[in-house]
Symmetry: C2
Subunit: 357 residues, 2 copies
């Protein structure tokens, strides 16, 4: 969940918003089908409460990247190494949503055949919210898996003072019966850069476990942290077991950057290159799906019914806040900041795509 | 790495120690082959610096569990659901080492065939150090994966005040070329219970991010934390992103407890039941192994050569401290506390197995 400032927001219908976003991508050279895939992923982030990965922010720099030619609007996505349950892909620098959705669709198809399947993907671009892809597995009674690295660097390894990888998120989605599905979607840094931006705009201090300042020591000044971009790994300190977050980040880099045979930060000259890793496990390959659903419901319920600690009203499992946000926002619309509405109007004027929200 | 007190230790030869441990297991009803598998896993923990999982501590309660009949010394380990790359196993309550090694050997064989393979395992017992199994993949040019849950509970979910799962560790091991292999092996709680025990013995305070006290609030008193056994998930607090550690713990429970169709804390009446999840990816299924090794070395070197932050002398990647400990201890012996030596002598007297260290 991304923390957002308390300001007056407009609620807009998600389907109309998706239509506009699709139109804007088509106006920048993407095919109708690919534009729809990207728009669905972007608006899904808004629906699930991850504004930082939705229309409000990432959308506008995707448009910029298309204009500058950094995102290839018509990629030829190909398999370059194929061994059945395992495949390695080339994304031809297409929009990460288009590349990721294409590969994950194939991973799901192969998982049905083999019981599990995995794919490493090179030469792609930013793919948005990691859970867009793991969530795709749920409708197929599979557990979905998604990771991404980036060849830029904004996170320092534990015990270090220079950034060596990105926030390298990982996501796992597992279906349930009646309960909200389990959906883990986490950056392997303690906090995402977006949260520091929010603190800077609100003028509040950040915890010293989030980032290093200009002197390479932990800072509580969000503005300084925004300048240095040296985020700390999950756990942050020795006492917090920062080596674990650091290890998880490196795991993501290995699965995405090394298995795609493309590399990592400073290894290529294009810091906008990203690599992905996708996978899935077929539940019925382990046993009866009904038995699985019953156990999942019991497991999730037992977490949900844990007595809350002081200062909390309830205990949630990963994916539950997003599930609740999606139910609300599909019915009542996606909240957009007035400045975002202005930017959408400008984009509508520039492209001729009608903004009918 | 487990923190240990600074006391005078005796260095003993690891092969002789392994021979004694094997003999002690045989004296408690295990077959020669199974006893050797368990002894190798236990002594490997000592070699790699994880005393908490080695001969010093766990060994003696495994002997107790064999005496009480909690560990089945002659398990019939069987596949109960087989779909090729995916399999589900019954451990017949054998020693977790024996069950895990048997299943992981089969996972590696199937990974060679399919490119990847995974197995969920029910009705097992404590399996020691998670990396014993992931490490097995390295010699086969595979990336190994290992997780375990337990039906006891000592970790509270984020925002909760009652324990709902165990420290649920996960391990990933990936080979390199010249560099030390990447070996992530982490409990999904901030600290392991063993570290709190060390603080209690040393009379030092623990950070408030490790455990809840008797009033269900964070405590800095290690003795109180030892009584409550309510460890906090990795990240611990809202500011530390405790929901991430909590989500990782639940992921482990799903892969181990739900996919094995056996369950989790409070779901079975036997709190000593544990379930495992193993897997592997074949590197050559993604591309040429030489290309992989070169990239891995470059990736690991770039972490190792990161300038260290204040208070640290160097930056390490996951698996590097263990690698260095193993090189030293294979050559110079495993350090054992004098009280452990006493216990080994007692056990030798009881079993008639000669203690020739």
């Amino acid at each position: 969940m991304t923390t957002v400032e308390a300001v007056e927001r407009v609620r807009v219908d998600s389907e109309r918003l998706e239509r506009f976003v699709t139109g804007a991508f088509v106006a920048h050279g993407m095919s109708d089908a690919d534009a729809a895939v990207s728009a669905r992923g972007l608006v899904l982030a808004d629906l699930r409460g991850h504004e930082s990965h939705g229309v409000s922010t990432n959308f506008f720099w995707y448009i910029e990247a298309l204009r500058k030619g950094e995102i290839n609007p018509r990629p030829q996505i190909t398999i370059i190494h194929d061994s059945g349950a395992i495949s390695r892909w080339d994304g031809d620098y297409g929009h990460g949503f288009v590349v990721g959705e294409r590969v994950m669709r194939e991973v799901i198809r192969r998982t049905n055949q083999y019981g599990c399947a995995f794919a490493a993907v090179g030469r792609s671009r930013h793919y948005g919210m990691a859970q867009y892809y793991s969530l795709m597995a749920l409708d197929h009674d599979q557990i979905g898996f998604s990771m991404t690295n980036s060849h830029s660097a904004g996170v320092v390894p534990f015990q270090g003072r220079e950034a060596r990888y990105e926030t390298n998120p990982l996501s796992v989605a597992a279906p349930a019966g009646e309960e909200a599905p389990f959906v883990l979607d986490m950056a392997t840094s303690t906090a995402a850069a977006g949260k520091i931006g929010v603190a800077a705009r609100n003028g509040t201090a950040i915890p010293p476990t989030w980032a290093l300042g200009a002197d390479d020591r932990p800072t509580t000044d969000p503005n300084e942290a925004m300048r240095t971009i040296k985020l700390l790994p999950l756990g942050a300190t020795k006492e917090g077991s920062g080596h674990k977050g650091s290890g998880l980040a490196l795991w993501v880099d290995i699965m995405c950057g090394v298995l795609s045979m493309r590399g990592f930060h400073s290894h290529t000259t294009d810091p906008g290159e990203v690599n992905h890793f996708f996978g899935a496990w077929k539940i019925e390959a382990f046993g009866p799906i009904e038995e699985y659903r019953e156990l999942m419901d019991a497991r999730l319920r037992s977490i949900r019914e844990t007595p809350p600690a002081e200062g909390f009203s309830r205990v949630l499992h990963a994916g539950q806040p997003e599930y609740e946000a999606e139910v609300d926002r599909r019915a009542n619309g996606v909240p957009l900041h007035p400045t975002v509405m202005d930017k959408l109007r400008t984009l509508s004027g520039e492209t001729g795509v009608p903004l009918d929200l």
